[in-house]
Subunit: 142 residues, 4 copies
C-alpha cells in the first residue's frame, strides 16, 4: 500500500528586488514560484532531476491546485528557508507541503497538488501513471 | 449586520507570451496576477480606485490567503474572462472569488482573502478598520 | 529591394500591481514584457497572429537583442500607450521600435531585434528564412 | 579623478521553471532580473548591502538604460554564471556590465546604466550625489 514519504528537504531562496511590489514586501504570487523551486530541489534530493523526467520520459507535473497562507511578509534580500514534504503521493497524484521561514519567523505555508501528465502525439496533454523508476523514489510500492 | 455584496464584475485579460512556460501553457503562479487585475477592476466597478485607497488613505489590501484550482490550461493569446465576486466582507477582512473561463470553457477558479492594513509612523504595517467611504461601497453598513 | 514598413500600431497596457517594485514604480524588466505585447499586437494589425506563425508554420521570433531607455517612471494603474514600428526587416531579421507614453508624458523607448527560427527534428532551433506569406505582410518583396 | 573600479564579481543563478516560456527557453525579460541579482551581489562584494543604501540612506539606484544581447538560449535548471563589472561610475551615474555563461558557453551579455535618486518629502524622486561612504566602495575619490 502506498505511503507518504517521510522525507523532507530544505532549500533557501534570497528575495529578489523583482519579487517585491510597491507595498514594500514580496508580491503574493511569487511565493508560488518559490514553491516550484522547492519542489524541484525536493525531487533532486530524492534522486532525480525534474528536468529529466520531462525531457527523457515526457512526464509533466501539472499543478491541479495551489494554496498559500501568508503569515508574515517577506522583504527584499531576506533569505527564505523552505521545508518541503510530500504528505500524499500515488501513481496519479502528488501533493507537496511547504513551510517558509526567515530566521525562525514563519513567513508562509503553502500546498500544491499535481497530476502526472504526458504529451500525446497531437501535442495534447493527458493523465498518465507515474513510471516505476520515479514511483520508487517517491517511496511508492505497488 | 454586514452582508456580502451580490455584485459581480467581469473583466478580460489576454494571455501574454511571458506568462507561458515550457509546458506550453500558462505558468500556475500567473493566475494570481490575473486575480489581482480582476480585484482592482472589481473595486473600480463598485466606485473607487484601489490606487487611491493606498495613496490617499494609506489603506492596503494585504493578501492573507490565496487558492487556485486549475481546471483546464490557458494558452498564449487566449482571452480569459474573469468573473469576480465578494462572498464575504467586513471592516477587517474581505474575500474575493474568481471564475476564469475561455470561450465558455472553465479554466480555473480562485479565492483570495485579504486584511486591511495601514502604515504606521515607523513604516510597519498594522491591521486597520476599513474606512466608512470604502465600507459603503462594499455594501457594509454598521 | 526590401523596405521597412511605414506602418505603426498603437496599443495600451494598464500597469499591474505585480509589475511595481518597492521603489513604487514599474520594475525595469517589465517594460520588455510590454514590448512583447506591443509586438504581438503589431503583428495582428498587419494581418497575422503571432500564435499561428508558431503553431502552424513553426516559425519563432527569437529575440537577439533588446534595449530600453527609461525616461520617466510608470506607476500602478496608469495606462501606458505603446506605439510600435518596424524600422528594419528582411527575410532573416526584424527590428521593432517602441515608444511608451502616459498621457503624453514619455515613459520609455525601446528596441528589440529578432531572428526567425524554426524547430528542427531534434528539437533544436535553427535560423530560417521568413516564409512568403509573412514577408508580404511585413512589406518585404523579393 | 574618478576611475572605474577594476573589481569583478561572479555569482550564479539556477534557471527557474517560471523563467521559461513556451519556446522552451528563458523568456528574454528575465535576463534583466538576473542582472539585478548580479548587481546586488556585486554591491555586497565591494562592501555594502544595496538594501541598506535604500533603507538607511534613502538612496535608490534607478535604471536609466538597459541592454541585452542574447547569444545562446538558457534552459530550465541550468546554472548561469554571471560576471559583473563596473565600467563607469561617478557621483551621479553608475554602469554595470554583465557576462552570462553556462558551462563556458556564452549565454548573453548585458549592460545597465543607473542614476542615484533620493526620495524628497513629497515622495517624488530626484537625482542625488552618491554619498561618500558608497563612493569610496565603488573606488571613487573626489
Amino acid at each position: 500500500m502506498p505511503e507518504p514519504s517521510p522525507h523532507t528537504h530544505a532549500c533557501t531562496v534570497r528575495v529578489r528586488y523583482a519579487e517585491t511590489d510597491q507595498m514594500g514586501v514580496v508580491y503574493y504570487a511569487n511565493y508560488f514560484v518559490w514553491m516550484e523551486i522547492a519542489r524541484v530541489e525536493y525531487c533532486r534530493s530524492v534522486g532525480f532531476h525534474y528536468k529529466d523526467m520531462e525531457l527523457e520520459d515526457g512526464v509533466l507535473l501539472a499543478v491541479a491546485e495551489s494554496h498559500c497562507r501568508y503569515v508574515s511578509p517577506a522583504h527584499f534580500d531576506e533569505e527564505i528557508r523552505i521545508i518541503t514534504s510530500v504528505p500524499d503521493v500515488n501513481r496519479r497524484f502528488v501533493s507537496f507541503d511547504y513551510e517558509m521561514t526567515c530566521k525562525g519567523r514563519r513567513v508562509a505555508i503553502g500546498q500544491t497538488r499535481h497530476v502526472f501528465l504526458k504529451r500525446d502525439p497531437e501535442n495534447g496533454l493527458r493523465p498518465v501513471r507515474l513510471p516505476d523508476k520515479y514511483a520508487a523514489l517517491f517511496g511508492i510500492g505497488d
